[in-house]
Symmetry: C2
Subunit: 415 residues, 2 copies
């Protein structure tokens, strides 16, 4: 860490799965960097770290400021994303040599990377490599993941907007799925392979009077018999109407994902199916109850539902980007921006703090077991109290003929 002003170019990359507000973080970085007297030029990596390796950098200084501002309301990664796991530099330093070459070519002294666990690992490795070879570059990670599983931060930008999409959609599906006087079982499948933050958000809908009767998270083992008994109890109590939310990552005690479990006489499923988990469970319940069933997978919709983005999430995503640049310019390096929040007395306060990258990279934060109810088919009030402040607010979004108006970037390639 140095307090000496460092002059040079900055580069921002987006990595991993997109979110509704990932571009708000990019905007926070780009705008703050463009305004900084120490940052000489601002580049965007075309498709994340692959853009570095391929020498494909986009010149942000060339973009129309009005279009850049529309990044706030544009879902998914406007610069392009990638899923690229960088090697361990002690094993293979090819990529690092190449990155250093590009750093030198464009005099890059500020490296901002926006992503989840893997991205923080990438940041950490690049930072360590630069230190090792004596190239001064300030490296900052900016959290982003709808999965909300980054360690050390109260929550991650992107999560709240997905949670709000899930809660709102569950309320609407509840209204639709309970409209007839016939039995109907509806299963909604929600993202989250290892952590149940997103599936748990479905319980917000229930807390507001129109949501799933049962919610299953991947933090606890799934048992088909217990599940069947849960459903039958609700079925009887509610005149055959049951709404169920499941995380895509629910798994049996032996670790097998329910979504991938093989056909067998014992697990009660019919034939191997290509349809997802929701359809699979719905079909199982159809055979068991004879009710009309429907499986709904929220799929990409929950990840990119910018039209329902949370105002809090949007503002915090931008804040995280801004804070990263400010910290780097002030001399910090090798950190991830994190959120430290208080919800005391129902008042939500959120501040940024910096966490060493080495402490956050590659750890997964799961839903605490005490936030899952005793029957393992729902969440507790603590979970609701945690997520509710995060989904507040609905910013006015630019539209054109009542459809979203997204940022249109020129994407001028640096040479």
């Amino acid at each position: 860490m140095s307090n000496t002003p460092l002059k040079g170019a900055a580069v921002i990359g987006q990595s991993g799965g997109p979110s509704a507000v990932i571009n708000a973080s990019a905007y926070g970085v780009i705008k703050t960097a463009l305004e900084s007297e120490y940052i000489t030029k601002v580049y965007g990596m075309h498709h994340g770290i692959k853009g570095m390796l391929n020498d494909e950098l986009l010149i942000m200084d060339e973009e129309d400021p009005k279009e850049l501002e529309r990044l706030l309301y544009t879902p998914s990664s406007a610069l392009g994303s990638c899923r690229y796991k960088i090697a361990d530099p002690d094993v293979d330093d090819t990529d690092y040599k190449r990155i250093l070459e590009i750093f030198k070519k464009y005099d890059i002294r500020y490296f901002f990377y926006n992503g989840g666990n893997d991205s923080m690992d990438t940041c950490n490795k690049i930072s360590k490599y630069c230190q090792k070879v004596g190239y001064e570059c300030r490296v900052m990670g900016i959290p982003k993941t709808i999965d909300n599983d980054l360690f050390g931060t109260d929550h991650c930008p992107g999560y709240a907007s997905a949670a709000k999409y899930i809660a709102t959609s569950c309320m609407e599906v509840y209204k639709d799925a309970t409209v007839y006087d016939n039995p109907q079982i509806t299963v909604v499948e929600i993202m989250g392979r290892h952590a149940g933050w997103l599936a748990g958000a479905a319980a917000l809908a229930t807390a507001f009077g129109a949501g799933p009767d049962l919610v299953y998270l991947p933090e606890v083992d799934f048992d088909l018999e217990t599940f069947s008994a849960d459903v039958e109890r609700v079925y009887k109590a509610n005149g055959g109407k049951v709404l169920i939310a499941v995380s895509e990552g629910i798994h049996y005690a032996d670790g097998r994902f329910v979504s991938e479990a093989e056909t067998s006489a014992t697990d009660g499923f019919g034939h191997a199916q290509l349809g997802g988990l929701a359809v699979k469970l719905a079909d199982y319940l159809k055979k068991r109850t004879g009710a009309k069933v429907r499986g709904i997978e929220l799929s990409l919709l929950q990840r990119c539902g910018a039209h329902l983005a949370s105002g809090v999430d949007l503002a915090e995503a931008e804040l995280a980007g801004r804070a990263a640049v400010e910290a780097a310019v002030s001399g910090k390096t090798d950190y991830m921006v994190a959120f430290k929040c208080s919800r005391e007395g129902g008042k939500y306060v959120c501040e940024t703090e910096l966490l060493p990258l080495s402490e956050v990279a590659n750890y997964e934060k799961k839903v605490p077991l005490e936030w899952i109810n005793a029957d393992h088919n729902g969440v507790t009030q603590e979970f609701i109290d945690y997520v509710l402040p995060l989904i507040q607010g609905a910013p006015e979004r630019p539209t054109e003929q009542s459809l979203p108006r997204y940022a249109k970037l020129k994407k001028v390639l640096a040479k």
Copy 2:
């Protein structure tokens, strides 16, 4: 038809699949009826015509006017819906005798029924029966169907909100599905068994810069080889990124639905699958191209997405309900309220008119073949010009902690 003022109670029923604005029509009926000097009491059928047959009528006069107003923003059928095909009275008049009994019990002189083709048929039969037995009751049908397939009206309440949901979602999915630099084929499945109005709305997303490359409607035969060639052409031109929208009702030339087609060596599919059409087509394209694929079914979400409801649709749905009551009170009976619209010079004007029930019941309105492009993989500008005015406007909706606040009805049963 009579111009004599008719005094008595009114009843409103909702039938068939719900929509985002069906309750706006109910509100239009209920509010206008409550204010009418000729209507003595306003009842709601609990689960449509089945509520009549079961003597389950809800007293709307007992509801809090503020909660009734929230019906405007509450998706799905607040009174409950049904799918009940009433018999031909010449074959079996049991139901009609029962309905007449209930009419007499509550002195019902105004009958309003909100639904699609089947509901208009129900209206027509009840009206004819009342005339036959000499019971004076004014019967009015109010159109409602997201499928937009009712005959004689420019469009149907409910359609535009679903169309807007589809277009917006396709724009967001496009952003998400094109974010990596790897090939990815995404197939979005849209409702509409026989008419392609909803699937065609996906082309709005394309018209605004972020939508499907290919759109398939059920008005024309689907051919797997032509489809494959279409996809491969886009695949090559777009670096492996293809977004496809299909109507659930696409079918082969021999009439078989693609979604239900049996496994065979000739149709190119693998094993029979329970997943829907989108997954089936995506899997087929995966085998053919090796690309990463994803099938997304918009499912119930497109039908009940009230948070994205069109302001025009909402206002027109309420207008249709109000117009039905006003016409009935003024002496009209045996009509459906329809919309007569002009789009001349880019100016959209919509007026209600009355069509005899016998002329609209049981006909299906499909997308005109000249609005489908020559390659049968998209729609023409005429289609866009038709639908664009309908999706305009976004009313401010009541929320509670940034989640939807729906109407809470007491549902007091009449005795």
